[in-house]
């Protein structure tokens, strides 16, 4: 990582456009008075508190819990929480207090140690994900060169925690949930990686400030959008769609929440959990969804950039706005769509998403070759964007037709007959 990140703001500590200024000022001051080593701890603490204040608290509590319930409420033509505090704003706090005071039951025949550890393991990756997300030009906790892979690696961990939860509870419904989530995780990891590969191919190796961008680093992806004045989503629309579907499957969001499908297997792997143990799963589900949204905002929606607007508006606000926009998609699908059956979900991953993702990589790699032979001409990327959007729509529709998608053959109105009688074979109802 040798690329200098252009500072957008001044480096006065009071310049809120870049919160790294203020934390640097504090750490520099602390370095002078405190013994060595404490500053490392302090840096982590500041990072934690700051991200908690500007991101986790508003997002998790107020978008994740309150906002989701409120928006779903409006989708379902009801009010949502409106009793606790003004407009029900204190509802998440009341929920948390209720969960904390509730007894966390452990079934007698369960595997106690595993059942106890599972929520803890579930929480850890949700916190770790945010370490590599760039909130602003210099506001990234660990700017590792392989942050995209880091995200992939971390996001594969919660599956194990959910499996542990499902297995240890010694409940048949929990076991179903565990079985389903393990099968689904294997299936959906593949198209997810393939989709992200498309985004990496686009950004990787593009020239920037005398150097080349590293497509595996999230900050470089943001710089790419800034350099070429286009978000990755316009060049890679198909990748975003596949990413969204795969990530909602991995996160157990509703169209694909087969691991905790409440109408089928009660609550899946969470069936035997109660109290704050359940609360940790619930809260961190939102945490993962936010992490996935933040990641999508970084990779596909240009991160903290907004076509030059980031010079006036604090970049971290732009970034949080984009994250919430993406999270809204999760809420929206949750409020609208029914759930797929587990075998249909697997078939969808392997038969539909994977070929499309491979096709997408092929497409973008071809374009990448043309682009690098044209010396990364800036205008060319817009041509690619238009081409890719058209080709993606055609590919999705064409592949669906190929796999047997025939909406016009599906009658959505029943046949009508005038008189009662016996069985009427299809096609002979007209003369009754």
């Amino acid at each position: 990582m040798s690329i200098p990140v252009l500072a957008l703001a001044t480096d006065h500590w009071y310049d809120l456009r870049d919160l790294a200024n203020i934390s640097d000022a504090i750490l520099d001051g602390a370095d002078k008075v405190l013994p060595f080593g404490i500053v490392y701890v302090l840096a982590a603490l500041i990072g934690f508190v700051a991200s908690f204040l500007i991101f986790v608290l508003p997002s998790q509590l107020y978008l994740g819990v309150y906002g989701e319930r409120k928006i779903i409420g409006r989708i379902q033509s009801r009010y949502g929480p409106n009793r606790v505090g003004p407009f029900g704003l204190l509802q998440p706090i009341a929920d948390a207090v209720k969960l904390l005071t509730k007894e966390a039951l452990t079934p007698k025949e369960s595997d106690r140690a595993v059942m106890y550890v599972a929520p803890i393991i579930f929480v850890m990756p949700a916190v770790l994900i945010f370490a590599v997300i760039p909130f602003g030009p210099r506001m990234v906790f660990a700017n590792v060169p392989v942050s995209l892979l880091y995200f992939m690696a971390i996001s594969s961990l919660p599956v194990i925690a959910t499996f542990m939860a499902g297995w240890s509870a010694n409940n048949k419904y929990s076991l179903f949930g565990a079985m389903r989530i393990v099968a689904m995780a294997i299936s959906y990891e593949v198209p997810l990686v393939m989709a992200l590969l498309g985004a990496v191919v686009v950004t990787s190796g593009a020239p920037y400030a005398g150097d080349f961008l590293n497509g595996l680093a999230l900050q470089d992806m943001v710089l790419w959008s800034r350099e070429f004045h286009i978000w990755v989503v316009f060049v890679q629309p198909l990748a975003l769609v596949i990413y969204f579907i795969c990530v909602s499957a991995e996160l157990n969001r509703t169209p694909t929440d087969i691991a905790e499908a409440e109408s089928e297997i009660v609550a899946g792997y969470l069936t035997e959990y109660s109290g704050m143990k359940w609360g940790l799963f619930y809260g961190m589900d939102i945490g993962y969804a936010l992490g996935a949204s933040a990641f999508a905002a970084t990779v596909f929606l240009g991160g903290w950039t907004f076509f030059g607007l980031e010079k006036w508006v604090p970049p971290w606000m732009i970034f949080i706005g984009k994250t919430h926009l993406f999270y809204f998609l999760f809420i929206w699908t949750r409020g609208t769509l029914p759930r797929l059956r587990s075998d249909q979900l697997m078939a969808f991953a392997w038969k539909f998403l994977l070929p499309l993702a491979l096709f997408n990589i092929f497409l973008v790699a071809t374009e990448r070759m043309i682009w690098s032979s044209q010396d990364y001409a800036k205008g060319l990327i817009y041509v690619f964007a238009v081409v890719n959007i058209a080709v993606s729509i055609a590919a999705v529709y064409g592949w669906a037709r190929f796999l047997g998608y025939r909406p016009e053959n599906t009658p959505v109105r029943p046949r009508l007959v005038k008189n009662a009688g016996g069985y009427i074979p299809v096609g002979s109802e007209a003369n009754r």
């Binding site: 033509s77 179903f176 169209p255 109408s263 769509l337 029914p338 759930r339 029943p414 007959v417 016996g422």
Partner: protein, 369 residues
């Protein structure tokens, strides 16, 4: 390859406490992985001994019992019972009473089908949205019931010889509002669910019931019509003057869960049509004939059947000239329809079993009585 991976089937108790059993009802399913290889129904958790209790009460006192069998369509149940008593005691109902009965039972069908399709969509995993939308519309009908009978769920409105009270002045505008609001709502449900690829893939070809099977198991209502059998007691054996109204019988194509769903949606359209006609031609006159409070029908027996939202609802009464029925029996449509559950679930997955159960639209109060 002679060796195969063996799997151990195990027994999964779906219910009695399960979010999708619509009450306290249990399916004892033997599953092999996700596949259901045997399903046994266990019921009786809500048994309240209504048929025996009714033998101790007078004919009029039994009407509130019928509210509580199928608690999602109390008006239809009242009607079925009253028709049976009227048949037993040869009582004529005035024209206005019949028209009110028709309007009420069609409104009840709308309310019940709202619940049915909402809960069905919920079973497929559409998280609460269709059920909430359906409840929003059902509420308007329950308001009408409240204005007319004083109760929303257990109305106890029909009486032997007519209905309990005449209609209130605000009744007609309220019904007109329902007639206006429902078509857009039905269109909305169709847009949300019938055109939804996920919903289609969850319901099409799931729980297929052949017409032979459906008739042999003596199913009725949307279950039978979904299999393509044109059978509706309002046409086949009209009561309350249904022969005056113009409406169609919707029938399905292949008898899967989706067909039952679209049949219910279309039945709601037909019900709106019937209500429209009945309301426009509402006769004046008395709403009820005078019937002695301690009714003692002549010796004999009577069976009256109506097309309840769930199918053929029959009441069988035997009189020994006493003030209470000698024998009181209900033919509950949910109970009979449920008998086909095993045929439809075995071979599918657990998720399919839930969808099939939702498509039957059971009311446990009616099954167990």
């Amino acid at each position: 390859m002679t060796q195969t991976i063996k799997s151990e089937p195990f027994i999964l108790n779906i219910g009695p406490q399960h979010p999708s059993t619509h009450g306290v009802f249990r399916i004892k399913a033997t599953v092999d992985g996700e596949k259901v290889i045997e399903a046994e129904m266990v019921m009786g958790y809500l048994h309240r001994s209504m048929e025996k209790l009714a033998e101790e009460r007078t004919y009029t006192q039994n009407i509130p019992f019928t509210d509580r069998t199928d608690y999602l369509s109390s008006m239809s149940n009242n009607l079925g019972y009253c028709l049976a008593v009227e048949k037993l005691a040869s009582i004529e109902v005035p024209a206005r009473g019949n028209a009110i009965r028709v309007i009420m039972s069609e409104l009840q069908r709308l309310a019940s089908h709202c619940m049915a399709i909402g809960a069905f969509a919920n079973d497929t995993g559409a998280w609460q949205t269709p059920v909430m939308w359906a409840f929003r519309e059902r509420e308007k009908i329950l308001d009408i019931f409240e204005v007319t009978s004083g109760a929303r769920l257990t109305c106890n409105y029909m009486r032997i010889g007519g209905v309990a009270f005449d209609l209130r002045p605000q009744f007609e505008p309220m019904v007109r509002k329902v007639l206006n609001d429902f078509p857009p709502f039905l269109q909305e449900m169709e847009d949300l669910l019938s055109g939804n690829e996920i919903f289609l893939s969850r319901t099409r070809g799931v729980g297929v019931l052949s017409p032979e099977m459906a008739t042999n198991a003596s199913l009725s209502g949307p279950m039978l019509r979904g299999s393509g059998v044109a059978w509706d007691l309002r046409k086949a054996d009209p009561y309350c003057g249904y022969e005056q109204y113009d409406f169609d019988i919707p029938i399905g194509y292949q008898g899967d869960s989706f067909d039952r769903f679209i049949v219910r949606l279309e039945e709601m359209r037909q019900s709106l049509h019937i209500i429209q006609q009945a309301l426009d031609g509402l006769p004046s006159g008395p709403h009820s004939t005078q019937v002695p409070l301690a009714l003692r029908p002549p010796k004999g027996e009577a069976y009256a059947r109506i097309e309840s939202p769930r199918g053929e609802l029959g009441y069988y009464l035997v009189s020994d000239e006493g003030p209470a029925p000698y024998r009181f029996h209900i033919r509950p449509p949910s109970f009979i329809n449920l008998s086909a559950l095993r045929e439809m679930t075995v071979g599918g997955t657990v998720a399919d079993a839930i969808v099939v159960l939702g498509s039957i639209d059971i009311v446990v109060g009616e099954i167990d009585r």
